[in-house]
Symmetry: C2
Subunit: 263 residues, 2 copies
């Protein structure tokens, strides 16, 4: 057997979708109709449909039918211009498409730093950190989930608004500068991609087949400290890969004002 039957059927359907014969959003034949059409068992048809589902080309809705996937217009997040977790500049990132973004209220917790977080923030494992979580919605659908971690120490030193479950109106960066003289001089983003956690799948309403990956951006922000730089915040953002893209700009590029200050 050169190709299994279910793959042949899947390839045939794929060709019809890619040729445009089956339009995005349109309903496909039912499993029983496809069984008759291809002279195969329903289970074999289901294997073929599963193959297409795994590639995001179709989606099945129980009780309704199977539909050709619509392509999502991705939201582009500019990392190099990314102001931080609680900035007012969110709205401007996507309104070029006329979509309505919104940001949830902040959920604030005091947690103990795990090993990885402690190492990044140069704390001891178990030291307390403030976690500030925000959700970003577009047209009412959850789009990204962001959690910032600050050493508890910053509150002790005067940045008490970090414990407030509201947006910091001036932005966290400006606030930390005003209260503590803490100024960001650099940051590092680690980008990794993997299957969603159960929480993420539930939160973003991702199909539970693990098909859609989540892009995780872990940003460490650094402030000046005489000779060295010290980390003062870690921000972890989860972006479902089916609706997000990232953009990074360096130096002089069209549409970006050159910044001579080093970042």
């Amino acid at each position: 057997m050169a190709e299994p039957l279910y793959r042949q059927i899947a390839e045939d359907l794929r060709a019809r979708i890619e040729s445009g014969e089956l339009e995005p959003g349109s309903q496909m034949l039912t499993e029983y109709e496809l069984r008759d059409r291809y002279q195969a068992s329903r289970n074999t048809i289901r294997d073929a449909l599963r193959w297409l589902t795994a590639r995001g080309m179709i989606e099945a809705r129980a009780g309704q039918g199977t539909f050709v996937s619509r392509t999502i217009d991705p939201l582009v997040t500019v990392l190099s211009d990314w102001p931080g977790p609680e900035s007012a500049r969110y709205a401007s990132e996507s309104d070029d498409n006329g979509r309505a973004p919104s940001v949830s209220l902040v959920r604030v917790e005091v947690q103990e730093a795990d090993e990885s977080l402690a190492a990044t923030l140069r704390l001891a494992e178990g030291d307390e950190v403030i976690s500030r979580q925000q959700v970003r919605y577009i047209d009412g659908a959850p789009w990204s989930l962001q959690t910032s971690f600050y050493p508890r120490d910053l509150v002790t030193r005067g940045a008490e608004l970090l414990l407030s479950a509201r947006d910091i109106a001036m932005g966290a960066d400006a606030y930390l500068k005003q209260e503590l003289g803490l100024e960001q001089v650099g940051h590092e983003d680690r980008i990794q991609v993997g299957p969603p956690t159960n929480d993420e799948a539930r939160f973003f309403k991702l199909s539970d087949d693990g098909r859609i990956s989540v892009i995780t951006v872990r940003r460490t922000c650094y402030a000046d400290n005489d000779l060295d730089v010290v980390p003062y915040r870690v921000t972890v953002t989860a972006f479902p890969a089916d609706r997000n893209q990232l953009l990074v700009q360096f130096g002089r590029v069209p549409g970006l004002i050159s910044r001579a200050d080093g970042y």
Copy 2:
């Protein structure tokens, strides 16, 4: 039925894997043994295993058995320090793990620009471009696939080595500067994640279930031109998401020398 049987079984196995009871690399019980163990049919067991496979937790090998996945030590590619497609600095990116990287010979072709490429390089659709393709291996396994596109015009103006199917020893950037005075002043990276194309799946030996996403970085490089900047190269790199991470640094961060020149 709160949870389908196959999901209950999958969750039980997942818990055993995550607890360490089933070690990475170890062989799991066979489908028939699991059928007896869980008092379910073999097909239901297979549904449970498929669920775990979709999450990359296990992998089945026909004729051998099913095994708990080993975690791959990811290669971290530093985008902000990424010199370009044909630099000699590749080797230094991963040898901290003692792995052996290598870069394939270049495959050079003259192609016609498609709509997207033409728009980015400010050409007309169908204009000729030079494509230079390279493969990167680590320990003999394909790790990333990179294709750079240059306007054909650059060869006419004197950069004839672009048509040579060998590495440009001094690096493409230095070569273009020497021959044409073309100097990179900025670049933009667009990062997107999606299922592999058939070609990518075959090339990277990804399982054909579409489980592992591919990170695509599309870099546009800009050179100076009096008032404006002009694009002169597009580099598209495909990174299988199971073995790659990206790192982006801005401003002053530990381990990075601050660059005051704007990028």
